[in-house]
C-alpha cells in the first residue's frame, strides 16, 4: 500500500542525506515497523510521505500513485497519518476533533453528511474513546489524547495508517492497548506503518521490521531476522544482548550496563 523505492531526502544545508536510499514496503493486512536510533531518519520518512520535504531521488508510492503527484486531499483519504506531536491551538470537543478526520472527504463548506457522522461514530467506538466524546481536548490525559488522535486518523477511513512514535509518554497498559488496536486493524485489512522506539514491543506485534541507521536500511525482515544481537549492537553502538522472552517467546533486547561492558 505504501512503498518507498530508493528514497533519498536531504535537509537544506545538511552534510549528509537524512534518508539515503531507503526501500520498504508496508502492505495491506500487515504491521510494518520502522525502528532505529535517534536521528536515523525515521520521522523524516513520515515527513517525506506527507510531502513536507521533497524526495530528492527515488520515489514514494501510495498504491500505484506517486505520493508527490497525488492531490493532498486524495492522499488523506487513502493514508491517515498520526504525526509525532500535535496540540490544538485552542481546545476542541473530542467528537469535533475526531470529525476533523472527515476534512479530506468534505466539500468547500465541509457540512457533515450522515456518512461522515457514522464514520466518526465507528472511529470513536473502534479507538474506545466514546466515553471521552463530550470532553475537551485540553482535559485529556496523555493516554486518552493518543487514543483520540488515533480515532481522528481512523475517521479518515484510509487503507493505510501511519503512526510516528504513538506510544511515547504512555504507561504500560495504554501502550499495550495501542499496539493491540494496531494489530487488530491490520487483521481487518489496514496497512499499518509504525515508527517506534519500542523495539521489544515492535518485535512482538510487527510482521516486518525495517531497522534504520544514519538514513540507510541496516536490517529488514521478520522480528527474528532483525533482532540479532550483533546487528543491534552495531546500530545502537551500545553493548546489549538479545534473549528470548520466557513468557511470550519473542526476541527481547536487553541493553547492558556500561560498567559491565563485555570484552
Amino acid at each position: 500500500m505504501i512503498r518507498f523505492e530508493g528514497a533519498v531526502v536531504r535537509y537544506p544545508r545538511a552534510a549528509r542525506a537524512a534518508v539515503d536510499g531507503v526501500t520498504l514496503d508496508a502492505p495491506v493486512g500487515r504491521v510494518t515497523a520502522v525502528a532505529g536510533p535517534n536521528g536515523s531518519g525515521k520521522s523524516t520518512l513520515v515527513r517525506a510521505l506527507l510531502g513536507r520535504i521533497p524526495v530528492a531521488a527515488g520515489r514514494v508510492l501510495v498504491g500505484d500513485d506517486d505520493a508527490a503527484h497525488l492531490d493532498r486531499r486524495t492522499f488523506a483519504t487513502r493514508v491517515a497519518v498520526v504525526p509525532q506531536r500535535e496540540e490544538p491551538a485552542f481546545p476542541l470537543r473530542v467528537r469535533d476533533y475526531v470529525a476533523l478526520g472527515r476534512y479530506p472527504h468534505g466539500g468547500a463548506w465541509g457540512a457533515a453528511t450522515p456518512e461522515d457522522r457514522s464514520a466518526v461514530d465507528r472511529a470513536v467506538a473502534r479507538a474506545d474513546v466514546a466515553a471521552l466524546a463530550e470532553r475537551r481536548t485540553d482535559e485529556l490525559s496523555g493516554g486518552e489524547w493518543q487514543r483520540v488522535r488515533i480515532a481522528r486518523a481512523l475517521a479518515q477511513e484510509g487503507r493505510a495508517l501511519v503512526l510516528d512514535e504513538p506510544t511515547t509518554f504512555l504507561d504500560v497498559a495504554h501502550e499495550m492497548a495501542v499496539f493491540e488496536l494496531l494489530a487488530a486493524l491490520a487483521v481487518e485489512g489496514v496497512a499499518v506503518l509504525l515508527v517506534s522506539h519500542q523495539l521489544n514491543l515492535v518485535a512482538r506485534f510487527a510482521h516486518h521490521i525495517v531497522l534504520l541507521n544514519r538514513g540507510r536500511v541496516a536490517a529488514a525482515g521478520t522480528p527474528a531476522d532483525v533482532m540479532q544481537g550483533s546487528t543491534l549492537e552495531a546500530v545502537y553502538e551500545w553493548p546489549l544482548v538479545v534473549s528470548r522472552d520466557p513468557a511470550v517467546g519473542a526476541p527481547t533486547l536487553v541493553p547492558l550496563r556500561a560498567a559491565r561492558r563485555l570484552p
Binding site: A76, T77, E86, P91, L100
Partner: protein, 332 residues
C-alpha cells in the same frame, strides 16, 4: 463542527445580539441633543420631527454603523489570525498589519492618488507587505512556534510603520498633521454613508472568504504537520487566510484609522462562551467586535464630554490588561 444550536444560543448569540442592539440605540441616543430610545427608533423608521430624523439618519447612524462594521471586521481578522497562526495573542494591530496598512494609506494620500476607493487598496497592499515581513522576521528568528517571537516581530514592524508615517508627515501643514494624528489613534468621527457602504463591501468579501475557509482554519489550528496529514495545502491555505485577514484590517484602517486590541479580545470572548469551530468563532467574533466597538465609541464620546477621546485609546485601555492576562497564559 459548527454547532450554532445547543447551549451557545442561550449563552452567547442572544446576549451578544441584544448587547449590540442596546449599544447601537444608546450610541444614536447620546449626543449634544439627547434623545430617548423611543425617539431614536421612531426617527430610524422616519417618524418624528425633521430635525431629529436628520440628526439620527445622517449624523449619528452612519457613525454607529461604521463603528459596528470596523469592530466586526477587526474581530474576524483577529479570529482568523489566531486560528491560522495558532497564536492566542495574534491580532492585526499587534502584528503590525494595521501599521502596514496605515503606511499604504498615507502613501496613497501623499502621492495624491486618494479617493474613497484607492485608499483601501493602498492600505491592503501595505498590510500584505507587513504580514509577509512579520512572518519572515519570525521565521528568521526560528520563532514561529513561539507566540512571543511572532508578536515581537509584529510590534517591531508596527514601530517602523509609525516612524515612516511620522517622517512622511514632517513637512505637512499643521492641520493635516493634527488630522493624521487623530487617524493614527483611531476615530469613526468622519463617518458618512458612502464610507459605511464600502466598508460593508470589504467586510462582505473578506469576512465571507474567511467563513468559507473556516474549516481550513480549524485544521490549520492543529499545526502544520497534522494539517498536511489531513490534506490541507498548508502554505496555500495559510497565505489566503492571512490575505483575507489583512484585507479586513486594511479596510478598517482606511475607514477609521488604527484601532487596536479589538481583534485580540473578542475571539477569546467567543471561545470563552463555548464556541468551538472557526465558522462559529468567526461569526461570534464579528458580532462581539461590533458590540465592543460601538460601546467603545460611545465611551469615547461620553467619558470626557463634550471633549472626545480617541477611539484607539479607549480600546487600548481595555485591551492592554487583557493582553497581559493572555500573555501570562501563553507563557505558562
Amino acid at each position: 463542527m459548527t454547532r450554532l444550536g445547543d447551549l451557545s444560543a442561550v449563552r452567547f448569540w442572544l446576549p451578544a445580539a441584544a448587547a449590540l442592539v442596546a449599544l447601537l440605540t444608546a450610541a444614536v441616543a447620546f449626543g449634544a441633543v439627547p434623545l430617548s430610545p423611543h425617539a431614536v427608533w421612531r426617527a430610524v423608521l422616519g417618524a418624528g420631527d425633521e430635525t431629529t430624523v436628520a440628526i439620527v439618519r445622517s449624523l449619528r447612524m452612519p457613525r454607529a454603523a461604521l463603528a459596528a462594521l470596523v469592530g466586526a471586521a477587526l474581530g474576524m481578522s483577529g479570529a482568523a489570525l489566531q486560528g491560522s497562526l495558532r497564536n492566542a495573542l495574534a491580532e492585526p494591530y499587534l502584528l503590525g498589519v494595521s501599521g502596514g496598512a496605515a503606511v499604504g494609506a498615507v502613501s496613497a494620500v501623499a502621492l495624491g492618488v486618494a479617493g474613497a476607493a484607492a485608499v483601501p487598496v493602498a492600505a491592503f497592499a501595505g498590510a500584505a507587505v507587513a504580514v509577509g515581513v512579520v512572518l519572515l522576521v519570525a521565521r528568521a528568528a526560528r520563532g514561529r512556534a513561539d507566540p512571543r517571537v511572532l508578536l515581537m516581530a509584529g510590534v517591531i514592524v508596527g514601530a517602523f510603520a509609525n516612524a515612516a508615517i511620522m517622517v512622511a508627515l514632517a513637512d505637512a501643514p499643521p492641520n493635516t498633521t493634527r488630522g493624521a494624528l487623530w487617524w493614527m489613534m483611531g476615530s469613526v468621527a468622519g463617518a458618512d454613508w458612502p464610507r459605511v457602504a464600502w466598508l460593508a463591501l470589504y467586510l462582505a468579501v473578506g469576512g465571507g472568504a474567511l467563513v468559507l475557509w473556516a474549516r481550513d482554519i480549524d485544521v490549520l489550528s492543529l499545526g502544520e504537520e497534522p494539517a498536511a496529514a489531513l490534506g490541507v495545502h498548508v502554505e496555500r491555505a495559510s497565505r489566503r487566510v492571512y490575505l483575507a485577514a489583512s484585507l479586513l484590517a486594511a479596510a478598517t484602517v482606511a475607514a477609521a484609522g488604527l484601532v487596536g486590541f479589538v481583534g485580540l479580545v473578542v475571539p477569546h470572548i467567543a471561545r470563552g462562551a463555548g464556541l468551538r469551530g472557526h465558522r462559529a468563532v468567526l461569526l461570534g467574533a464579528a458580532l462581539c467586535g461590533a458590540a465592543l466597538l460601538v460601546g467603545a465609541d460611545l465611551a469615547a464620546r461620553v467619558l470626557r464630554a463634550p471633549a472626545e477621546l480617541p477611539l484607539g485609546a479607549v480600546t487600548a485601555l481595555v485591551g492592554v490588561p487583557f493582553f497581559l492576562v493572555q500573555l501570562r497564559r501563553a507563557s505558562a
